[in-house]
Symmetry: C2
Subunit: 312 residues, 2 copies
């Protein structure tokens, strides 16, 4: 596996973030659709853009683009519009989940990425609709009718994203989370919840990039292992940061989980064991990349490090 | 165009409804997914099933199946699993929209199809998640990995459904509706709102069936015209029923729109002109079917009649 210095990963991330921000800015829009003769209503698009633009680490899009580049050596030359669509689609699912999660009937959070949450800014009905529309837009991005993405790939991408977002993925994990407040979960139950709630979409981020690059067989399997490892690592680190970081660094209210008596890795295993688990999962992710046989995994390896070493 | 007697349309509808109810019962489930090793959490699936099963006219699935049969003469022989998936997918989008619409921050309705609404039964967070998961499940249904539906068709179906559900379709229409309370909309503005809010998904119901049967060219265009006509007719009739029917017949609270000072066809054109418009739109739908050149349009023609003549 090629090792990247922090500097080269940083440059790669900056370049990809520019692409992602630019694409989201273009694709989350109220521009008229020629075939329809109208665009999305401005009031809705305003809330959607507020939820998506100018904030967030964009970890999921970066994973998609890194996985695509790892499999498709010619990615830079081809421009990789398919992967960019998939990268933005997974971010829209993530963004919609945050909008709905923050609503009063869920976590009732008023601060997100250092800004008022969507329902504070646009009202609850506005937030509900913006989230709903963002989920649909994710599937619109995956299904362009301009020939830029083969129809068969479109079908596979929608399959991956829908399952990661739905009742056996993210929404399912949130339902378990909701039902688990105050309950004594053991480690397997907690792991299961996180596999669905956070892990499924992170795993899908990697898979979407791999599918865009037509990966299959052992390569796809190795990237799937990588995706599972960083998916769980992300949540373990989230639990750690919930007790070790402050609200300003997190850009959201710290200590919420403990306050809400939600089971976390830290409450279950303790802080040190949780930090060790995160390090172990990073090693598993690196090992999966080595076993993939791919040459160009530096960005994926670097992102595994970012997931575990991040401070917010 | 073949005319169907009420009796034969009734028999067709009963047979198709059985298929749809049976399929929804199987597909909205917490059964373990072999590849994942787990199913959806029971608490979530319970709310999803409550929202979907045992209720509703299933107009959208019937339109999908009728459009499929109109184009694909061998539909009965092939079993039409693709069309059944598409039929259920569009119903899941419809069902999720009702769940979210009924929530306190939207219409705050406590009665739907004669039963307590989902948030009354499962709490607001439960309703929010159930709706979110139903939207994802719609796209899961369209993207089976068992070879029952060609990948390229999966991509096209997802494209149609996502656009009908999203910010230039249903969610966009709801946003316009939300922003229009108390505003003096003219007929073009009201028509635009309804085209998005209700029309887009009804139109998509027809298109999904046509896409499953690989319709193209003038046939697809004629079915699209049919879909637009009945889509608008449905909403005009809805507005008429809101003032002429009572809550018991509707299975929901009658007179809500007038109470909420929402613009409707009746408030804009008056009752008689609205009823005339509905009849005109039915004639347009029938005319589109004639121009399609398809022989087997009896069910679609009958459904246009049902849309306009329904009492709830």
């Amino acid at each position: 596996m090629t090792a990247v210095s922090d500097g080269s990963l940083g440059a790669w991330m900056s370049a990809q973030l520019l692409r992602v921000e630019g694409a989201l800015d273009v694709w989350v829009t109220d521009a008229k659709v020629p075939k329809l003769g109208w665009g999305a209503p401005a009031s809705l698009v305003q809330a959607m853009r507020y939820a998506v633009l100018d904030g967030g680490k964009r970890l999921r899009p970066l994973l998609t683009l890194a996985a695509f580049e790892a499999v498709d050596a010619g990615a830079q030359a081809s421009g990789g519009e398919a992967a960019l669509r998939a990268a933005c689609a997974v971010e829209l699912i993530h963004a919609y989940s945050l909008v709905h999660d923050d609503m009063p009937c869920m976590d009732n959070d008023v601060l997100r990425r250092g800004k008022p949450t969507v329902h504070v800014k646009f009202g609850e009905a506005g937030a509900l609709l913006a989230g709903d529309a963002l989920q649909a837009l994710a599937f619109e991005l995956l299904t362009p009718d301009d020939g830029s993405l083969p129809l068969a790939v479109q079908g596979r991408l929608c399959a991956v994203l829908a399952r990661a977002a739905g009742s056996t993925g993210m929404a399912g994990g949130q339902a378990i989370d909701l039902a688990s407040v105050g309950l004594p979960l053991d480690e397997p139950a907690l792991r299961h919840m996180h596999q669905l709630k956070t892990g499924a979409l992170l795993h899908a981020s990697v898979m979407l990039g791999a599918v865009c690059a037509q990966a299959s067989g052992p390569v796809l399997a190795a990237l799937s292992d990588y995706g599972h490892a960083i998916g769980l690592a992300f949540q373990v680190v989230d639990d750690v940061l919930d007790v070790t970081a402050d609200s300003a660094a997190l850009g959201k209210t710290a200590g919420k989980d403990a306050d809400n008596d939600k089971p976390t890795y830290v409450s279950l295993l303790g802080l040190q064991a949780s930090q060790r688990l995160a390090t172990d999962l990073r090693a598993q992710a690196h090992s999966a990349l080595r076993s993939s046989g791919l040459a160009n995994t530096a960005a994926l390896a670097g992102l595994a490090d970012v997931v575990v070493q991040r401070s917010h």
